[in-house]
Symmetry: D2
Subunit: 140 residues, 4 copies
């Protein structure tokens, strides 16, 4: 189970090498995460409004081929691990070519703590948001 | 009375035209504002912690010459207007050449409301932070 | 004649005030410009590949209301002036509410030189790209 | 042998969680890399002008503690591997506290191909820039 997020490379995202700067990929992953969470019928804004944060603790990106201005990109997102106060996501980033075929540009992972937004201490998603917890668990 | 903020153009700030993307200038102005406020013995963090926000209501930028990766830049910042719940800043952006001379790259202005961070309603800086208000007023 | 560009506010675009940082609006305008140019059957990439650049010489933004994470945004873009080596665009930025109504967040303009990408000297769009020139002129 | 790069967290770098967004760390690493290369008496601009690019192929970041607006940050950078057409860097990011002590915020690595800027094919840094190659090698 995964979601697909579509975006177009912005001019401001390019650098003087003529390609999308690598610092944009974590931002694209995050757009993917936003859509992934939404697919469970809750928004990440709702999660934060309920007093829970998912700060990133680890990030890894592998870059296979560059993306360029105006390229149409699809980010595929899915969760690969969910523990009490820890969640991990994987992403693939592909370019959609004019003929509809796709070229893999790279992939990455993010690991997140699950924290209370007031105390910044770990909280159990299972206890605080059991429905969301079970829905994500069911995707494994 | 103005402050000078020094920065080096980052690779990620360039675009495929090979120059610093224009969206970075408001960020550089903001770095200038941070230093300008600090010159009065208070940080902008302190102002926000005291429950006051300075959201931007108007921004204008004029670009004369481009900046490039690794260019050494100086942003000069000063306030040009301060009313009860409104403040306006001006900025110049110059490149510092290797021989120490400077080349003007452009200039800009920002206008800000002065709001209570809880109600998002205008507040009087004169009443809430009279000392800072008088110090800025004294620069005109 | 104008184009509409749809985007969702990204988490990375927010700041500690909880709203989309004002430096994102020029980037959103640029996404609008990309779609506007495309509506004439040519991409801005094609224009650059033909050796022509549209660097920004002036930028102005007015901010009426803030945008927040996950807000659905529509940017409306149109050209308001086209001379030999100069083009000007206007933008409105609106939030699309859940009931489908729209709330105006602000508006802005950008002015651009039209330059040869090798010499960085002004060029006549009318001479270099007469078809595009006439198509834009026809919108006034 | 390593270099130290000093920066102050910008307002635009914060997100609605109130901390520096994780996508800024690769940009800070890059500022560190810029200074590291410069310490060998050549700028990264010079390397690119000589027709060589160092595109990122892998990025990893570990986040231990968050950085906040106006925090003074020091990025320590050093190379840990150099092969013919491949180079790898490590970074630590620390906050400089008011008493001068430092708090570790996290660390990361980047791996880069070494490519010809025209053909985008791997090139040997040892052959193309033997002096720089030997200087970096000498740090291991």
């Amino acid at each position: 189970m995964h979601t697909r997020t579509y975006l177009t490379v912005r001019y401001a995202e390019t650098d003087r090498m003529g390609i999308a700067h690598h610092s944009n990929y974590p931002i694209w992953y995050e757009a993917g995460r936003t859509d992934y969470i939404k697919s469970f019928g809750i928004s990440y804004s709702d999660i934060e409004n309920a007093g829970i944060l998912f700060p990133v603790t680890n990030l890894s990106c592998h870059f296979e081929r560059p993306a360029q201005y105006e390229d149409n990109i699809v980010v595929r997102t899915w969760a690969i691990e969910l523990k009490a106060a820890h969640i991990q996501f994987t992403y693939t980033v592909k370019k959609i070519n004019e003929d509809g075929s796709q070229t893999e540009l790279g992939y990455g992972t993010t690991e997140h703590g699950i924290l209370d937004s007031k105390t910044f201490r770990p909280v159990s998603l299972k206890k605080r948001m059991p429905e969301l917890y079970e829905k994500i668990k069911a995707t494994f």
